[in-house]
Amino acid sequence: MNRFMQELTKGLWKELPPFRLLLGLCPVLAVTKSASSGVGMGMAVLFVLTLSNMLSSMVRNVIPSKVRIACFITISATLVVAVELLMQAYAYPLYLQLGIFVPLIVVNCIILGRAEAFAAKNPVHLAIADGIGMGLGFTMSLTFLGSIREILGAGTWFGHPVMWDGFQPFAVMVEAPGAFLCLGLTLAAMNYGTHRQLMKKSRESAELPAASPCGGCRACALGRDKD
């Protein structure tokens, strides 16, 4: 059960799909114009990812490993068609909003990546936990980016106006450049936080941070101390 919780929570921060693994960036950039479409896309991916992980894990000992990729794609394509039809039936406005990006979930790197890297090697319950965790992390990230872009770019959050009267929407945020800008700044902030944590840890234990991207020569920290 401990392992189950571990697989469930790793997707929420440690391996947060778009921001840590940098997987599935196409929907992250394309459908985060508003928080609600971010949530919708995230839920669709959560559904597909969990079920595809489960099915891939169930068939992992049955299919020959040479054709496993094709099998994973078939599984996810089946699920995506199901999601598409369900969306058309029960959430038609959302379906119109997401457009081509719903069918494109099939080729989303996260789906295939998790099936190949995790579900193909682990038992069913862990694969489900992994799918739920990753899907929730993905939903969180999309909602986060969508909220920033919607609040700055349109002055609303989930369709409700949240800014003061006379607020001039920052229109570039809902355009394509705004997506890159938001993603880049978010990544920079997360990297900065990670780097700082590593530095703090290395200063406490006087050991070099092996995982630091620059190899951990501590030069930057020394230069900063000097100032």
Partner: protein
């Protein structure tokens, strides 16, 4: 290495190096001096609104840089004047009728996103002033449009005329008027005559490399001539395009920011020519009337590619130091 040497860091940078006894501070003071005539002329033309925009933009840029440097635990470097230059360059691109919040957002974005997010002066890939300008220009098209009614002026934007009424409408604007800045547009960027003189001063002082503005203006001239010769009714002449809008400002002050341009003669020439040609292409085919700032942003991004052209380290490679641009050297290398 002993413990005491540990805090001495070896700064490594790549060739080519330029030898001059100047400091960053002196360079920015020279740049401010070169911008001064244009600023004075724009003050005469637009009055208090222009002074307001310029002052707010410079102050906001300097304060943003200071705040970012404090947050990033860097040494404060406001005394070298680069933030002031960026703020003034940004103000030159804004219309004199820009509301205060627009100027503030532009300046904060220019220094925050355009420069400090990359690590500070010299680390930015794209001219910082242009980043701020582009963000507000795309976001707020209505306040960014110089409003003749608010500014109590009867001047018109020559580029709008040329774009929407054909090249023949460019005849409404005598060259002397364009040179003296009697045109609607960015508050300082349209003072083309004064900016041209200021740019010449910078090039003669060696603060900027003369190759870049020369090639930039040459590129604009060549492509504009080609269009003009093809259909003089539809496309205005080359001199009109050079001295209207912000072409001169872009050539001398924006394209030459040290961290964003290549540094050898052939790459610099190609860089400038590409920029000049892009100005015309955007003006003719693009949705915006003035393409110069966007052209500069594009060539800024291409600068690392240009820098790869014949990038032999000093003392190696088949070419001699003198043969940088002639055909013989090109054939050999």
């Amino acid at each position: 290495m002993s413990q005491s040497n540990n805090d001495i860091l070896l700064a490594i940078s790549t060739p080519p190096f330029w030898h001059c006894g100047r400091t960053i501070r002196q360079n920015s003071l020279h740049t401010l001096l070169a911008l001064a005539p244009a600023a004075a002329l724009s003050l005469i033309q637009w009055g208090v609104p222009a002074a307001r925009v310029m002052a707010l933009s410079m102050v906001a840029a300097i304060v943003t840089e200071a705040v970012c440097q404090i947050l990033m635990k860097q040494k404060l470097s406001q005394d070298n004047g680069t933030a002031a230059v960026t703020g003034l360059a940004l103000a030159f691109l804004l219309p004199a009728s820009a509301p205060w919040w627009l100027t503030l957002i532009a300046a904060v974005c220019a220094m925050g996103v355009g420069r400090m997010a990359f690590g500070g002066y010299g680390a930015n890939q794209v001219n910082a002033a242009l980043v701020g300008w582009a963000l507000v220009f795309v976001s707020f098209p209505i306040p960014m449009d110089p409003n003749a009614a608010v500014l109590h002026t009867s001047l018109a934007d020559p580029l709008f005329r040329a774009k929407f009424f054909g090249g023949a409408a460019a005849a409404d604007f005598p060259l002397a008027d364009l040179l003296l800045g009697r045109q609607l547009g960015g508050l300082g960027a349209t003072q083309t005559g004064a900016l041209f003189l200021g740019g010449l001063y910078l090039a003669l002082r060696g603060v900027i490399r003369w190759e870049i503005p020369c090639a930039f203006l040459a590129g604009t001239f060549l492509v504009a001539s080609a269009f003009h010769l093809a259909d003089p009714e539809l496309y205005a002449g080359p001199l009109f395009h050079i001295f209207s809008g912000s072409t001169v400002f872009a050539a001398f002050f924006l394209a030459t920011e040290d961290s964003c341009c290549p540094h050898r003669r052939l790459p610099m020439t190609l860089y400038g020519l590409t920029g000049g040609a892009l100005v015309m292409l955007i003006r003719v085919f693009g949705v915006y009337a003035d393409g110069a700032p966007f052209a500069v942003m594009l060539i800024n991004l291409l600068a690392p590619m240009f820098a790869l052209i014949r990038s032999h380290p000093f003392g190696t490679g088949p070419r001699k130091a003198k043969r940088t641009s002639d055909n013989e050297g090109r054939a050999r290398s």
